[in-house]
C-alpha cells in the first residue's frame, strides 16, 4: 500500500482520511485518488463501499488535463453529474443493505459517500440529504454512538423543518430513527412519541396496513417490552404478523407462479429480523406451545420460502402444523390453512425438482 508523507504534499493541498478527516498517510493503490489515515480505515472503507466504486471515483476526482471548448466542458459536466447520480443510488443501496445485515461499521463509509455525492449534486442544505443523514444516524445507533446519531438526525430534522411540504415517507423515516435513538438511550416516552409519529406519517404515505409501516409497529412493540407493557407490545407484534402474513402469502404465490419478486432483499432481511424476535418474545411470554407461536412459525416458513431457503421453510411450516394440531385441533381453520400451504409447497417443490 503506497504510503504518503503529508509534508511532501504541495502547498495548500491537504490530503485527509476518507472516513475520519484526519491527516492521511495511505493512498489507495488502485484509484490513487482516495486516502486514509490508517490501514483499519482503509480496510473498512474497502469492505464498506470502496471495492464497488474505486475506479468510478477516478474521473470524478481527477481534474481534466485539457480544457476543451465550452461544449466539451458542458458535456463533461453532464457526464460527471450522471455518474454522481448513479453513484449516489449505489452507495445508498449498499448502505441500506449493510444496515439490514447489521453491518453497521460497513454501512458508515457507504452512507458517508452517499452524503458526499448528495451534497455535490444538491447542495449542502437540500432536503435530498436527509436519506443519507438517516442512514448515518441508523448506523451510528447500531454502533451505540448515540451523540453522533443524534447529530445526524438533527441535521436531517433541520432539513425537514426548513421544507414544510416534505414527503410523509421521509418524515416517517426521520421519526423512526429518532424513536430508535431514544429507545437506545432509555428515553422510552420520547421514543414512543417519535415512533407514533413515524407510524402516523407512514400510514399517510403507504397506509396503516402496509408492510412499510410494520417497522414502526415493531419498534414500538420493543419499547413496550422494555417498559414491561406486554399487552401493548403483543398487540403491536400481532399487527406486524398480520400484515406480513397477508403480504407474504401474496408474494410467495406470485413468486412461485410467475417468478416475479414483489419484495426486495433489504425489506425481507428486515422482516426476518422482526419475525424472529417476535417469535422469541411470544415463546417467552405466551409459551412455546401456543397458537400465536404456531402462527409465527407459519409466517417464518412463508418468508423463508420467499427467500428460497426451502429447508428452513419446511422446518418452520411443519413446526407450525404440529403446534396448531396440538393447541387447536385437527379441524381448526388455522391448521387447515397451514396444511394447505404445506401441500402447495410440496407440489411446487415436486414440480420444480426440489424433492
Amino acid at each position: 500500500m503506497p504510503a504518503i508523507n503529508p509534508l511532501s504534499n504541495p502547498k495548500s493541498i491537504k490530503l485527509n482520511c476518507e472516513l475520519c478527516g484526519k491527516v492521511a498517510y495511505i493512498q489507495c493503490q488502485f484509484c490513487r485518488v482516495t486516502y486514509y489515515c490508517s490501514k483499519e480505515h482503509q480496510t473498512t472503507d474497502w469492505n464498506g463501499i470502496h471495492v464497488k466504486i474505486c475506479q468510478l471515483l477516478v474521473p470524478l476526482r481527477t481534474q481534466a488535463k485539457l480544457l476543451g471548448s465550452e461544449e466539451e466542458r458542458r458535456n463533461k459536466e453532464k457526464d460527471i453529474r450522471r455518474n454522481q447520480k448513479a453513484l449516489l443510488e449505489m452507495t445508498r443501496t449498499e448502505a441500506q443493505k449493510h444496515l439490514h445485515e447489521s453491518n453497521f461499521e460497513l454501512a458508515i463509509p457507504a452512507a458517508l459517500q452517499s452524503l458526499r455525492f448528495s451534497m455535490d449534486l444538491n447542495g449542502s442544505s437540500s432536503i435530498d440529504l436527509v436519506p443519507s443523514y438517516l442512514l448515518l444516524g441508523e448506523a451510528s445507533i447500531g454502533l451505540n454512538r448515540y451523540p453522533q446519531a443524534e447529530e445526524y438526525l438533527s441535521l436531517a430534522k433541520y432539513a425537514v423543518l426548513k421544507k414544510p411540504d416534505c414527503s410523509h415517507a421521509m418524515r416517517s423515516q426521520l421519526h423512526r430513527n429518532f424513536g430508535k435513538l431514544y429507545a437506545s438511550l432509555g428515553k422510552y416516552d420520547e421514543a414512543l412519541e417519535q415512533l407514533a409519529a413515524d407510524i402516523y406519517y407512514s400510514s399517510l404515505a403507504m397506509g396503516p396496513e402496509h408492510e412499510g409501516t410494520t417497522g414502526g409497529y415493531y419498534h414500538m412493540g420493543n419499547v413496550f417490552v422494555a417498559q414491561e407493557q406486554y399487552e401493548s407490545a403483543l398487540a403491536m407484534y400481532e399487527k406486524v404478523v398480520e400484515i406480513w402474513y397477508m403480504t407474504l402469502n401474496e408474494a410467495v404465490r406470485t413468486l412461485e407462479d410467475t417468478n416475479v419478486e414483489l419484495i426486495d432483499e433489504a425489506v425481507t432481511a428486515e422482516s426476518l429480523q422482526m419475525l424472529q424476535r417476535i417469535l422469541k418474545i411470544r415463546e417467552e411470554h405466551l409459551g412455546v406451545i401456543h397458537t400465536a407461536t404456531a402462527e409465527c412459525h407459519h409466517i417464518l416458513g412463508l418468508l423463508y420460502r420467499y427467500m428460497r431457503n426451502y429447508e428452513k421453510a419446511r422446518e418452520h411450516t411443519v413446526k407450525a402444523l404440529e403446534l396448531f394440531t396440538e393447541t387447536a385441533g385437527l379441524d381448526h381453520p388455522s391448521r387447515q390453512i397451514v396444511q394447505q400451504s404445506l401441500n402447495y409447497f410440496d407440489q411446487f417443490q415436486e414440480h420444480n425438482g426440489y424433492l
Partner: protein
C-alpha cells in the same frame, strides 16, 4: 387466539394480561430557536469540511452542541404545531392527528387502524402517498425511502377505499372524533381482557351513533364487527340484535334489500332457536316489510317471477305474525303480478283473499278495488256470470257505505256487460241508475256520458222486439258519433269500459 381471517380481532383471552405501569410526564419544552441556531452551526461546520476531499463527522462531536441538543428536545406536539397559524387553520386535521398519536402511544394499535381508516378517507381514496407535495428537482424522496406497494397492500387500499367505510367521514366533528376514539379504545381494552360483552357494547354504541347521523356504511361496518364477535363468543342475543340492526341499516342503503333480508332471516332463525318470542315477532315483522320492499323493487325492474317469490314469502310471514293489512296488500300485489303473468286462476284466488281481508278490516276502498279487479278478471276470461256477480257485490257494498261514485261507475260497467249480452232491460236499468247518481253528485261529465248510455240502451231495447215503453225520457234519436268521439277524447274519466252500440 389470533386468526388468519381478515382483520377482525379475535378474543385474546388467552394472552396473559399485564397491568401497565403509569407513564411518566412528557418532556415539555420547545426551545426551537436555540435548537435551530445550534443546528445552523453544526450544518455550517459540516459543509465546510465536506466541500473538500475529507469528511470529519465520524468519531467527532462538539461537546457543547451535544449538551444543547440532548437536553432541549421540542415535544412532538410542539413540532407538529410549529406554525401557529397553520394549527388554527388546520385544527381539524391536528385533532385527528393528536388522537391517532394518543392511541398509538397508549398501545391501542387496532383502534388506531380503525380510527385512521375512518378519519382519513381522502387519503384512502386518493391513494396513500399521492397527497405528498412535489419534491424539488423532479426527484422523488418516496422512491428512495418508500418500498413499493405490494399487490396485497394495493388490494387492501382498494378494498378500504371501496369498502363500507367510504362515506365522507373526513369531516367528522370533534365530538364524533372523541366518541370514536373512546369507544374504539374501550373495545380494544375489553378485547384484551376477554370481555366480549363490553366489546360488543362499545361497537354497538358506535354503530348506533353513526346510524343516527345518519352514516349507514360506517354503521354497517361496526354492526358487522358486533356480529362477528357475538358469533365467536356464542352470544345469541347480541348476534340476533346485530343481525336486526344490520338488516335495518342495509334497508337504508339503496339497492341492498337482499342483504337486509339475509340478516333479518338470520335474526329470525336465531330467535326461533333460542325461543326468544319477542325477537321472533320483531324479526317476522321486519321480514314482512323487507320482502314487500324487495318485491316492489323487482316489480319496478320488471322481474315479475322474482316479485312473485318474495310476495309469497311476505304473505306467509304476514300470516304468521297476523298482520292482516300486510297480508291483504301481499294478496293484492300477487294478484296484479299474476295478472301480468296471465295466470287468471291464481289472480282470482288472491283477489278473493284481498276482498275478504279488506272486508274484515272494514277497508271499503280495498273491497271495492278487489271487486272491480275481480270483475275485470272474470270479464277477460269470458266468465260474465262471475263478472256480473262481482260487480253486483260491489254495488251492494257501495250502497252500504254510501260511495256514490263507486256505485255509479260499477253500474256503468254492469250496464255495459248486460248490453253486450243483449239484456237491454237490465242494461237500461243500470245506466239509468248511473244517470241518477251522476245527477245527484252533480258530475257533469258523468251525467252526459250516462245520458248517452241510457239512450243507447233504450234504443236497443226498443229495436230488439220489445214494445215501446212509455217513459219520461225521449226515444233514442240522432247520431251518436259526435258523442262517441267526445267520449273517445278522454271525457270518460270515470268508466273504463266502452259503450257498444248494437
Amino acid at each position: 387466539m389470533s386468526s388468519f381471517l381478515p382483520p377482525v380481532r379475535q378474543n385474546s383471552a388467552d394472552r396473559s394480561p399485564q397491568r401497565r405501569p403509569s407513564r411518566g410526564d412528557k418532556n415539555e419544552d420547545a426551545h426551537i430557536c436555540v435548537r435551530l441556531a445550534s443546528l445552523d452551526r453544526l450544518g455550517g461546520s459540516s459543509s465546510n469540511i465536506l466541500s473538500g476531499t475529507s469528511l470529519s463527522t465520524v468519531g467527532h462531536f462538539n461537546d457543547n452542541l451535544y449538551a444543547a441538543n440532548y437536553t432541549q428536545q421540542p415535544s412532538l406536539l410542539d413540532t407538529l404545531n410549529l406554525n401557529s397559524n397553520q394549527s388554527v387553520r388546520t385544527g381539524g386535521f391536528l385533532k385527528k392527528q393528536r388522537l391517532c398519536l394518543e392511541m398509538l402511544t397508549s398501545g391501542y394499535i387496532h383502534s388506531f387502524v380503525d380510527f385512521f381508516y375512518l378519519t382519513h378517507q381522502a387519503e384512502c381514496q386518493r391513494g396513500f402517498g399521492s397527497s405528498d407535495s412535489n419534491p424539488p428537482d423532479g426527484t422523488h424522496p418516496d422512491a428512495e425511502t418508500t418500498p413499493p406497494l405490494s399487490p396485497v397492500s394495493a388490494e387492501k387500499k382498494a378494498e378500504s377505499s371501496n369498502s363500507s367505510l367510504v362515506n365522507s367521514t373526513d369531516n367528522l366533528s370533534d365530538a364524533t372524533l372523541d366518541i370514536l376514539k373512546s369507544n374504539l379504545t374501550t373495545a380494544e381494552k375489553a378485547m384484551r381482557q376477554g370481555d366480549s360483552k363490553t366489546v360488543i357494547d362499545s361497537y354497538f354504541q358506535l354503530a348506533n351513533y353513526f346510524q343516527s347521523l345518519p352514516n349507514f356504511p360506517v354503521a354497517i361496518h361496526f354492526y358487522t364487527k358486533c356480529l362477528d364477535i357475538a358469533q365467536q363468543s356464542n352470544d345469541s342475543a347480541s348476534e340476533g340484535k346485530a343481525n336486526q340492526s344490520l338488516g335495518y341499516a342495509y334497508e337504508h342503503v339503496e339497492g341492498d334489500m337482499k342483504n337486509a333480508i339475509q340478516h333479518y332471516e338470520q335474526f329470525l332463525q336465531i330467535a326461533k332457536q333460542q325461543n326468544f318470542t319477542e325477537d321472533e315477532h320483531a324479526a317476522t315483522t321486519d321480514l314482512v316489510r323487507a320482502y314487500m320492499r324487495y318485491a316492489d323493487q323487482c316489480h319496478n325492474q320488471n322481474q315479475i317471477d322474482e316479485e312473485v317469490i318474495f310476495l309469497q314469502k311476505c304473505l306467509v310471514k304476514a300470516q304468521t305474525c297476523s298482520n292482516l293489512a300486510a297480508e291483504g296488500m301481499a294478496n293484492y300485489k300477487l294478484s296484479m303480478a299474476f295478472k301480468s303473468l296471465e295466470k287468471n286462476d291464481l289472480l282470482v284466488v288472491h283477489l278473493r283473499n284481498y276482498q275478504r281481508i279488506s272486508r274484515q278490516l272494514g277497508d271499503t276502498e280495498g273491497e271495492g278495488t278487489a271487486s272491480a279487479a275481480l270483475a275485470d278478471a272474470f270479464k277477460s276470461t269470458g266468465d260474465m256470470t262471475s263478472s256480473i256477480q262481482a260487480l253486483q257485490e260491489n254495488i251492494a257494498m257501495a250502497e252500504r257505505t254510501k260511495q256514490d261514485r263507486v256505485r255509479a261507475e260499477t253500474c256503468c260497467h254492469l250496464g255495459i256487460i248486460y248490453n253486450k249480452q243483449g239484456d237491454f232491460l237490465s242494461a237500461k236499468k243500470y245506466f239509468e241508475l248511473c244517470f241518477e247518481l251522476a245527477r245527484t253528485m252533480g258530475d257533469r261529465k258523468l251525467l252526459d256520458y250516462s245520458r248517452v248510455l241510457v239512450g243507447i240502451a233504450r234504443g236497443n231495447s226498443i229495436m230488439h222486439s220489445e214494445p215501446p215503453q212509455r217513459s219520461s225520457t225521449p226515444p233514442f234519436q240522432g247520431n251518436t258519433d259526435g258523442v262517441r268521439d267526445n267520449i273517445a277524447k278522454g271525457e270518460r274519466d270515470c268508466i273504463g269500459g266502452e259503450a257498444d252500440c248494437a
